[in-house]
């Protein structure tokens, strides 16, 4: 291996002054500007930034996959001391997968839905000239190497037959087939549950140690950075704002943007005077089963099993669980969007589980919801003023008054009142979530149910929206049921925590207590799997 004068090993990958242009109508002239960093053999570099920071552009540039709309304006990328070909050059055929492999955020979507896993992996070998007789054995070997159970069965499976974690393992297997030197991982764990994420991060770390692989890990999550990074490059709006060893960046960040991202991992539990003791909603032993299809296609699913909970005025209860744990089904029961099989739901003392017609419609006013995806939660052909005023008008408020109220609410959630005449698509994700909150508040609810209401947002925006929930709660005194898979979010906002697993509530208690000394082993597992937890444990101790 070549050594340079300082004695450090020559870098595997070296990026110098990389500048990539954006189309003329972009929000800035360059996607990334003057980016320079190295990756040493066997090193993990985390490229950190939020959506639009240009971090994925760098990964694409290394593989020669930039579209025409994103031209390389200047700069050089060297792999093993040799310059890479120009973008989209056919010579990349010999580099992709063989020397540099890439995996993506949504593993299931990055696999062709109509071809088997085995066929898609064998294809990688085929296009790189591996003879047919060797392919099957090598595919099975690599599936075994990523610790997939029953490699033969997985090879014959279609992508939809795998879980999210299995799909990501299969994709990683594909990336390892030709033993590349560098793995580019673009947000590979963002779409996964925390326990699955922990497994995939451990897998990448193991493969790195076994194969001497270098990893360029693209992420927005400093919790993940704390788990795996040797060095960190932080990007903000296309500019490299901070570069350094992981420990240094994590514990003594220099740039304000880095500080903001790190703070977002561990939003501090806020000081709060807890609300009164008036019970707003009390659910006792509720059960929900989704029935199977008419011809027996689907199996019946017992989504909520004997759940009981109580929510008091002005307090926030977080329901925590992984995908499929039944937390959203529970919310749908409380919102009366599903008919429960048994149990009772009392709202301000009145049984509501059997309400229909007018009384049910009247109840809806007091029970409002904010959903996960602020993009699909707003009608694109309705001005935001109309969206906010729609509920009050239906419930009898005169139009003029409802519109005046909508303007006030917009200001309250931090948007200009004049923005009311505009359409949802003119706003960013965070702004849209503010609009959704204003819409929910327009009916002056007693209980606001937030279903993963910050999960689709960038981390720094998440913090702002959580603040907004808390401010509005202080102002109007409603109770919040906050559904989330993210322990850090739950810790930041909740007074009380419910942990759900497979339809059951396995743990409940005040937030501080649940985080400090979890009683159920599953809660302990969740806490252990949450990336960066050690980091904030240290931070709290310091």
């Amino acid at each position: 291996m070549a050594e340079n004068l300082s004695g450090a090993p020559a870098p595997l990958l070296s990026i110098r002054g990389l500048t990539v242009g954006l189309p003329a109508d972009g929000d800035r002239p360059e996607a990334v500007s003057e980016v320079s960093f190295d990756i040493a053999p066997g090193e993990t570099v985390c490229l950190v930034g939020e959506s639009g920071s240009g971090k994925s552009v760098i990964g694409q540039a290394i593989l020669g996959m930039l579209p025409h709309a994103l031209p390389v304006l200047s700069g050089e990328v060297h792999l093993d001391d040799a310059p890479l070909p120009p973008q989209r050059d056919p010579a990349y055929g010999a580099i992709r997968s063989a020397q540099v492999a890439m995996i993506f955020q949504d593993a299931a979507a990055s696999l062709n839905p109509v071809r088997t896993i085995g066929a898609q992996l064998a294809e990688v070998l085929e296009v790189h000239g591996v003879p047919k007789r060797d392919r099957k054995a090598r595919v099975l070997d690599v599936l075994r190497a990523v610790a997939l159970p029953e490699p033969e069965r997985i090879a014959k499976s279609y992508p939809h037959q795998l879980s999210g974690g299995q799909a990501q393992r299969a994709v990683i297997a594909g990336a390892l087939l030709l033993e590349p030197k560098l793995l580019i991982a673009d947000e590979p764990t963002t779409a996964l549950d925390v326990t699955t994420q922990a497994e995939i991060l451990a897998l990448i770390a193991r493969l790195k140690a076994e194969h001497g692989l270098s990893v360029l890990f693209v992420t927005h999550d400093f919790g993940v950075v704390a788990e795996i990074a040797d060095r960190v490059v932080v990007m903000e709006k296309g500019v490299q704002v901070e570069t350094g060893r992981a420990a240094a960046v994590l514990h003594a960040p220099q740039h304000p943007y880095t500080k903001k991202l790190i703070a977002a991992v561990t939003p501090a539990p806020r000081e709060r005077e807890t609300g009164g003791t008036d019970t707003i909603l009390e659910a006792t032993d509720i059960d929900l089963t989704y029935r199977g299809g008419l011809f027996g296609g689907r199996k019946a699913l017992h989504a909520v099993k004997g759940a009981s909970l109580r929510i008091e005025a002005g307090r926030t209860v977080a329901v925590v669980g992984e995908s499929g744990s039944g937390k959203s089904s529970l919310a749908r029961c409380l919102l009366r969007l599903e008919e429960i099989d048994s149990g009772s739901i009392r709202f301000k003392g009145e049984e509501i589980s059997k309400l229909t017609g007018k009384p049910l419609q009247h109840l809806r006013k007091s029970l409002q919801v904010v959903l996960q995806d602020p993009y699909s939660a707003l009608d694109p052909r309705q001005t935001i003023r109309a969206a906010i005023a729609e509920g009050p008008i239906i419930h009898g408020t005169p139009k003029v008054e409802a519109h005046a109220q909508a303007a006030e609410l917009l200001e309250l959630v931090g948007l200009p009142a004049q923005a009311g005449g505009r359409y949802p698509q003119e706003f960013s994700g965070g702004q849209r979530q503010r609009i959704c909150i204003a819409r929910a508040l327009a009916l002056k609810p007693d209980l606001l149910i937030a279903d993963e209401a910050v999960s689709a947002l960038d981390v720094s925006i998440q913090a702002q929206i959580l603040d907004l929930f808390a401010d509005m709660q202080k102002r109007f005194g409603f109770a919040i049921l906050f559904i989330t898979h993210d322990l850090a979010v739950a810790r930041a906002i909740a007074d009380d925590i419910l942990v759900m697993r497979r339809g059951e509530i396995v743990e409940r208690g005040p937030a501080a207590q649940v985080f400090a000394s979890p009683a159920h082993p599953y809660t302990a597992d969740l806490l252990a799997a949450a990336p960066g937890l050690d980091m904030f444990a240290k931070g709290d101790a310091a």
């Binding site: 056919p90 055929g93 979507a109 990055s110 839905p113 071809r115 037959q161 990336a175």
Partner: protein, 302 residues
Amino acid sequence: MIGYILSRLIRAVATLLITVTLVFLFIRFSGDPAAALVPPDAPQEVIDQYARAMGLDQPIWVQYTGYVGGLLQGDFGFSIHTGLAVEEVFLARLPHTLELGLTALAMAIAIGIPVGAIAAIRRGSALDRFVMAFSVFAFAMPNFLFGLLMILIAALVFGTFLGGDSASVLWPALTLGLAAMGSFARFTRSSVLETINAPYMRAAEARGVPFRLRLIRHAAPNAAIPLVTLIGLSLGALVAGSVVTEQVFAWPGVGQLLVRSVATRDLAQVQFLVLVVAFTMVLANLLVDFLYLLIDPRIRAS
């Protein structure tokens, strides 16, 4: 999967039964067929005689059960016009219509799909814009007008006649298939555009799979899934279009027979032809549903 197949079969049978009933009722209620058979100045007794001979004096439910029972035994009735069994009249003309319809479908698929795929791959180019303009023209052009224009131009400029049973099938097939061709091109374009920008296409690119292989192995099978539906549905439009096209080109097929049978109120013949059309449609849709099983593993699993 067995549930899937069973539910499609039950649906198909139900559709056929409803069609049989509707056809029966519509024809009975759209005027007295016996009156239409005889000269306009025929006395009422003659009309009644005909009606009795055809069983039209029976109560409607007797006629209905007799009719359905006959269908189940393969007795479809006799054409009043020719005196032959309706299926014989139909079968004599079927080869002509099959020739015309299959040629039209083949042309629509062989031209529309590649042209749409190329437009998607060269998105935004002059070629793409030309294909889009062509597909709007093809779709918007009424086929009787297009057919007449072709006959006119061929006769005036080239001195040949395109119609009749001795003429080439190509021109009527082009007329009949033009609209389907346009819609196939347009639909293929949007379907291919959707698949070539799918995450698995970028992932295949990152794995080093060359462009042509990505198109053939990854984009094409996925883009084909919605196209199969469209082709199945367009069979209906082809059948409807053949009625007009056969008339314009004097093509001796089933479409022409249908027009003539309606005009002469040849009750049993019309009933039979409408049933054949409905049966074709149901069969085509059933075929599409089963094709899905072959091309989409997600349906196979459910």
